[in-house]
Structures are given as structure tokens and as C-alpha cells.
Amino acid sequence: MRDAFVKILLEEMAGNDRIVLITGDLGFGVLRPVWERFPKQIMNAGIAEQGMVSMAAGLAATGRTVLVYSIGNFPSLRPLEQIRNDCAYHGADVKIVCVGGGFVYGSLGMSHHATEDLSILRALPGVRCFAPGDPAEAELVTREAIRTRGTCYLRLGRGNEPQVHESVPAGWKAPDSLTLRQGKDVALLSTGGILTQTTDAARRLAEKGISAEVVSFPCLKPLDEKKVRELLNRFRCIVTVEENTIVGGFGSAVCEIAAETGSGCRVKRIGLQDTYSTVVGSQQYLREIYGMDGAAVAEKAEGLIHEQGTDAG
């Protein structure tokens, strides 16, 4: 996703010298093409994220589109008030870009696990939130983020993720969700890089004769509410999957609509269960430990179906 982000950034910078990227002293290899091709449009703010985001707001006030780049929680939670007051309240054209959403930096420890960012950023008025599920979605939302004025949060994964979509979906517009698989027994709703696990869960369920629909939501805020309502009407069981706390994030957003709709559909939220990780390991290892890998998603989906008493066959 990092590479997809940089690819689109370079394309956009080529046609627009008002786009500037500020890095918080990170992205050594990833940003090299930007340093080489557009040295006047990239700068290093040092390890000083609060100053960096305030500066981005000031720079945006001179008619620029400013991307702020760092990893994990450093561009989001560290300068949260600067995002709220200096960017969002002023409608500043600042894009907060996080590389390493969820457990990407699993072995580096809790400090580097971005597992509440979606919930916290989603709560800020005027901040659109994007969490692409694969490199193809990363291309779509990066272009959308750059081209639409205002403050937004872009939560990327890492490098070299598998592509889930066969190609970059054509005709996408925010906040559209993307349906990867049709189904009738359960709908698996996914946001962010955990999409690989969600599609894996659908395959596992299929082997048991359970038909799962898979829908990816690269745009968390605004949410594709129309699609959520349609799924709530069509299914009796919905499972939400996110590499983020279940408190206040994507699952919560779906539940807010479900509660107001009163459709009778049950929603199971999969994500980090209001805790911090206390062990380290690879991203996939931590997904397994904390019950959000493909096998766990399939198992929980199946359990929900049985609880609801639907015909799973």
C-alpha cells in the first residue's frame, strides 16, 4: 500500500506543484522517488509531530495541499489536538498519512501498534477517514484524498501486501464500498488491510457450505451508509472486521446504523477487544492471537449464524 500511495502521489505531484509532503523523519526508502523527482515539494519536519501538523495547517493556509507522513500513531494520536484545532476546525487541506495501521509493526511492540486510530480520528468532525483494504484500494483513496479539499486521515498498511481486487476498480467514488464476493448467509464487512483475512474467512465458510458476502469499505467516514442499510435488510447476520479496537471504530459505525434501522439483523464486531497487545510477533501472528485472522473470522461468523438460527446450508 505504501508503494501504491507513492505511485499516486507522484502522479498527482507531476501535475500540481501546490502539493507538498512533510515527513516526520520517516520513509527512508519509500519516499526516495519523491525526494528525487520533486525535491521542492517534500520536506522533513524532524521528530516533532505537533509542530509538523501545525506547520502543515499554516502551509495549507497559503493555498497548498499538504500531506503529513509518518508511521503508526505518530501522525495521528501524537498531534491529535493539532489535527482537531489547526486542521479540521479551519478546514485545512491537510492529509494525515499513516503507514503501518493495525499490527503492521507487530514485533516493534505496543507503541507501534495503531489500534485505536480509526476510532479516535473518526470522532473528529470534518475529518474524512480512509482505510484501504489492498494496494488497489490504496490507489483509489490516495487520489481521492489528494483531490478533495479538506482534512482527512489515510490509514495505510505496509509494503508488498497481496492485491485482493483483480485490478483497480473502475468508476469508484467516495464513499462507495466494494463488493468482492456475493453471498446469502452472512455478510462480512471489512475495512483496512485486514481484508485478506476477511476474504480468507469467506473461502473457509464456503468449504463448509456457508455462503458469505464480502464487502470492503475503504472509506470509513463518511461511511457508505446506503450499502450498510441494504446489507442490514438483506442479511440476518453481519460480521464486521477491522484491525482496530472494536470500541468506536468501523464495527461501531455499522452498529450505529443497525441500531437506528432496527432491522433485526445481528452484528458481530471482530477486532481488538478493548485491550493492548502484550506480546509481540508478526502481523499475522498477532491477528491470530487476537482472534481476527481468517480462521477466527470464519469461526465467529459461523457461530453467529447458528445463534441466529438461520439455515446455513
Partner: protein, 291 residues
């Protein structure tokens, strides 16, 4: 109140005050600050009084701004980073024609756009909303950087508090402004030696304050922050620093509550609102000082 403007201008005997004179504008900032704090029962009057000459000199002698065209692209930018002294800026803007003086009486009131901490929403002439400390210098650095990238003629000014310099973000921005060589960025610290609970010295010592800024790569001047001529000279000297590659800091030595004897250097007046006999006594002192 029916005629707020007539009340705050009454000592001018029906004549329009000369708002181009920094001493007159400083007086009007204090007079409006007293009235706004009195009407709203709002706090921070001590801070408004300490920053009065700084704001007055900026609006009369330094800032290239146009009240008839507040969004003029080439205007100088002023950020009041110590947003709690917002009524000083509101008063200066109203008195110099950005919006009606009468509107000042709505400060703090239900439904008003004149919030206790300075806000840009719907208020012509205010660039940036502040209130949480330690934000303004960074925003100013970004503006100065953008202006330099554009080769634009305007300058950026940031007015900060001394207590505000407790915030770590101030020093992040200090490093960044120096690193980028933003010599058209000028910051002024209203150095009144008092913060929320007690003195700066008893809270987090800032001295040697000049040395700190110098060591961070800034050019520093220290002046009497209640002397309009000294302030103007320092600000002009800062303008002449273009090409040095150093951001400009002016440490303006001030007195919290300046202008009303019983408010001066009294921490109580960070919060207290003048009512009854205190309001009358403050008004008497201020009106006696009218330039």
C-alpha cells in the same frame, strides 16, 4: 446595553479617537477589555492589559492589513497564539474598522461569534482560531514557509504568552522555524512573568529566556512591552533581518494587568472579572489615563 460604543468612547467628548496612534489604540484595547470582561463576567483581563501595546503597535505601525478587504491576499498575517487575550485583538479589529465596535458587547454571550478565546469563524481580520496553547508558532511557521515558497510580499507575526512556552510544541516549532530559516517570521512573547496559578519563575523557569531562543537559532531582542516606540523599533529591526536566515523573537517585558493599579502583578486578575466597586475603580483609573 443600548450604546456600548458611546460608553467606551465617552472620554473623547464626541470626537472619533485617533486609532492610528498606538497609544490611543492601546488605551482603547484596555477600555474595551474592561467593558467586555465586566459585561460578560469573563476572565483574562490581566492578560489583555499586558498585551495591549503589543497589539496596538502591530495594528497601527506594522501590519499591512485592510479593514475594507480583510481577505486581501498580500496582507500580513497575525496569529494570537495566546488566544485567551482574544478580546485585545477583537477590540483592535473593531476600533480599526474591521467590524462594528458595538459588536464587542456580545463577547462571551449566548450565540456570539466572539468567543473567549480568539476565533476566526465569521470574524473578519482573524486568521486563525487558538485557545489551546502552543499551536500558533507552528501555524505561523507554516504560513511563513508558504509565503517564502510563493515569493509573496507579506510577513507573519505570532504573539505568544510566556506561560505558553511551557508547551513542548512551542520548542518543536522553534526548531523547525530556525531549520527552515524563516527570517520573515516574527514572534513576540508577552513576557509578564505570570501564568495561571502563580509566577513563571515558580512554575517552570524560562530564564535565561533570551539564551534559550538564541540557542534555538533565533535572533532575539528584549524590549519594554509597554513602550510603543521601543516595540515599533524592535519590530522594524526584525523586518530588516530579512536575509539573515533567522526567525525573529521579541521578548516584550510587560506587567500583567498593566493600567489598573490593583490588577498589576496580581495573579487574581488572570481569572477575576471586574464588578461593582472594582469595575468603577478600574474605569476611573483608565479614563484618567486617556492619551
Amino acid at each position: 446595553m443600548d450604546n456600548y460604543e458611546a460608553l467606551v468612547h465617552r472620554v473623547f467628548g464626541g470626537k472619533q479617537p485617533d486609532v492610528k496612534d498606538p497609544r490611543v489604540l492601546a488605551w482603547l484595547i484596555r477600555r474595551n477589555g474592561l467593558e467586555m470582561s465586566h459585561l460578560s463576567r469573563g476572565s483574562h483581563i490581566g492578560s489583555v492589559f499586558s498585551v495591549a501595546e503589543i497589539i496596538a503597535v502591530l495594528y497601527t505601525r506594522i501590519l499591512r492589513v485592510d479593514p475594507k478587504n480583510p481577505a486581501w491576499p498580500d496582507r500580513d498575517r497575525l496569529i494570537l497564539s495566546k488566544g485567551h487575550a482574544g478580546s485585545a485583538v477583537y477590540a483592535a479589529l473593531a476600533e480599526t474598522g474591521f467590524f462594528p465596535v458595538e459588536q464587542l458587547k456580545t463577547h462571551y454571550a449566548n450565540g456570539s461569534i466572539l468567543s473567549g478565546h480568539v476565533s476566526h469563524k465569521g470574524v473578519p481580520g482573524v486568521e486563525v482560531s487558538t485557545g489551546s496553547l502552543g499551536h500558533g508558532l507552528g501555524i505561523g511557521a507554516g504560513m511563513a514557509l508558504g509565503a517564502r515558497m510563493d515569493g509573496a510580499p507579506w510577513r507573519t507575526y505570532v504573539v505568544m504568552g510566556d506561560g505558553e512556552c511551557d508547551e513542548g510544541s512551542v520548542w518543536e516549532s522553534a526548531l523547525q522555524a530556525a531549520q527552515y530559516g524563516l527570517d520573515r517570521l516574527t514572534a513576540i512573547v508577552d513576557y509578564n512573568h505570570m501564568q495561571s496559578l502563580t509566577t513563571v519563575e515558580k512554575t517552570l523557569k524560562l530564564e535565561p529566556f533570551e539564551d534559550k531562543w538564541r540557542d534555538f537559532g533565533w535572533t532575539v531582542q528584549s524590549v519594554n512591552g509597554h513602550d510603543p516606540y521601543a516595540l515599533e523599533a524592535a519590530l522594524k529591526k526584525a523586518q530588516a533581518a530579512e536575509g539573515t536566515g533567522k526567525p525573529q523573537m521579541i521578548l516584550a517585558h510587560t506587567v500583567k494587568g498593566k493600567g489598573v493599579s490593583f490588577m498589576e502583578n496580581n495573579i487574581l486578575w488572570h481569572y477575576r472579572t471586574p464588578q461593582g466597586e472594582e469595575y468603577e475603580a478600574a474605569l476611573k483609573e483608565l479614563e484618567a489615563q486617556r492619551p
